[in-house]
Symmetry: C2
Amino acid sequence: MTLGEFDLIDRLLKPLAQGFPGALNLADDAALIDLPPGRQLVVAKDAVVADVHFLADDPPDLVAGKLLRVNLSDLAAMGAEPLAYLTAIARPTSINDAWLQRFAAGLLADQQRFGCHLIGGDTTSTTGPLVLSLTILGTVPTGRALTRSGARPGEDVWVSGTLGDAAIGLRVLRGLAVTEDEALELVGRYRTPRPRLALGQSLRGLASSAIDVSDGLVADLGHICTESKVAAVVDASLLPFSEVARGVPGAREAALAGGDDYELLFTAPVAGRPAIEALAAQIGHGITRIGHIEQGAGVTVVEADGQPVALPRHGWRHF
Amino acid sequence: MTLGEFDLIDRLLKPLAQGFPGALNLADDAALIDLPPGRQLVVAKDAVVADVHFLADDPPDLVAGKLLRVNLSDLAAMGAEPLAYLTAIARPTSINDAWLQRFAAGLLADQQRFGCHLIGGDTTSTTGPLVLSLTILGTVPTGRALTRSGARPGEDVWVSGTLGDAAIGLRVLRGLAVTEDEALELVGRYRTPRPRLALGQSLRGLASSAIDVSDGLVADLGHICTESKVAAVVDASLLPFSEVARGVPGAREAALAGGDDYELLFTAPVAGRPAIEALAAQIGHGITRIGHIEQGAGVTVVEADGQPVALPRHGWRHF
């Protein structure tokens, strides 16, 4: 049996709207949102396609979680707090009701974890692969959002957590041999990003620019450089690696260009170092100073002795 | 040549964000929106798939226009004013740059016509058919949005414009023989919906419930009945037809169940008749009283003599 669109919405999606009155129980043409005084709305939209952004046989709850989390990571990079989301699901007939039930369960678990609700969307059929899009809505105190355009020469470049794990995790899914424990950790980083929402919010007023690492460190730092009209220099010896990634050949390339890390990459004045180091101690994951901003354009990666590192292709292009 | 994602965004989409500062020139992780005091945000999201919702060889500018307009129609049904939108485009390799240029031109023409801006989104590849999703953002004075849940027994049922033209237009595209002038009009109604934004805004405080006719009159009136916990009776002899639709066999079925009309269907107390009739005179398209609300559940369609009309299947289900 395949549920029709209305039954699907009733049975699987309406529970995700409970507790958000403006969702109108997913029974209306649109949802209503009140913004508290003094706050701006923050909106982002990302789409994922089976076998482009995830594997068609990935567990449906993890696909749902990743879809929500990559969008939450966009909010984190703006210093915003999550509020609500809408989904559009274009599904082939191979996506049955059991798949959708596990998908909805994944959304429910993560919306509870991160504090947001489903408030609307659309479901339709397609003759092609599953396409999922999600629009995330958050809020930020007016005028205090982090953007990509505020980096200035002389400032530090920082990144949260560790880099390269997700890209190596994808290689593990494609056959790279590692131990079972290592596989669990690396594949987990690929399938289940950890949006750095608490960090992003704490960086308001502290960071001068921010972005989340989705295309790869060099590519995403390049976006900050372009929008801020500055150059960045990264010291490769300072890149933060997990214990497990450190032992894998190609870890440095994965850290520089692998993407899918969903760590926060940000710049801050030198005067902010004590505050950022205190934040790292408090927030439960590392924040590492990996370079600095200069006048000019583009990203340079150097060894500890200052010799330039030949850069791999700058991140992923999805076309 | 195929443009990469970044070039595509730069060249085709950034011009659509000009004039909306919070779009951050499409160069950041998310967009920022300030709501004027006393207004709520209204958000809806619809997706369309090639050969499900439009024909793969439809003109790209009209595909863009329809995508934007069906979402604007959701705002119209809430009595909202357009503000901004985000798109997600999952494109097969058959969608080339010329197609995308015409698609962007279609968005530009209609965003100027309806007063909104592109503020973000995502582009990706797919091995399947083109999938387009759009999230529309609008605003409404706080507490004054029209919803589906306010219809009460004794009220009138009204619909704007004419019904069935779009469904007949789709039949014309599939081979139904009509004159060239008739084809132009009917296919135009299918490809280029006219979101009734001015009417929706004027109905705030006048209508007790509203919906846009996308699935078909009976199905959409059924949504109002379900959400309002009432029954509706429609007099088939009162259904508004265009001159051209009136002469086509099956016009009544198209009006009752064809869908894609994107007219506003609403309920209002009897005392509102003079105001609604004055509105019709002022607004440039008809508004027709077609039935009434009763206690009970479901939609009944009757002939002028009160005999029930056998109903066709209730609207379209997209699965």
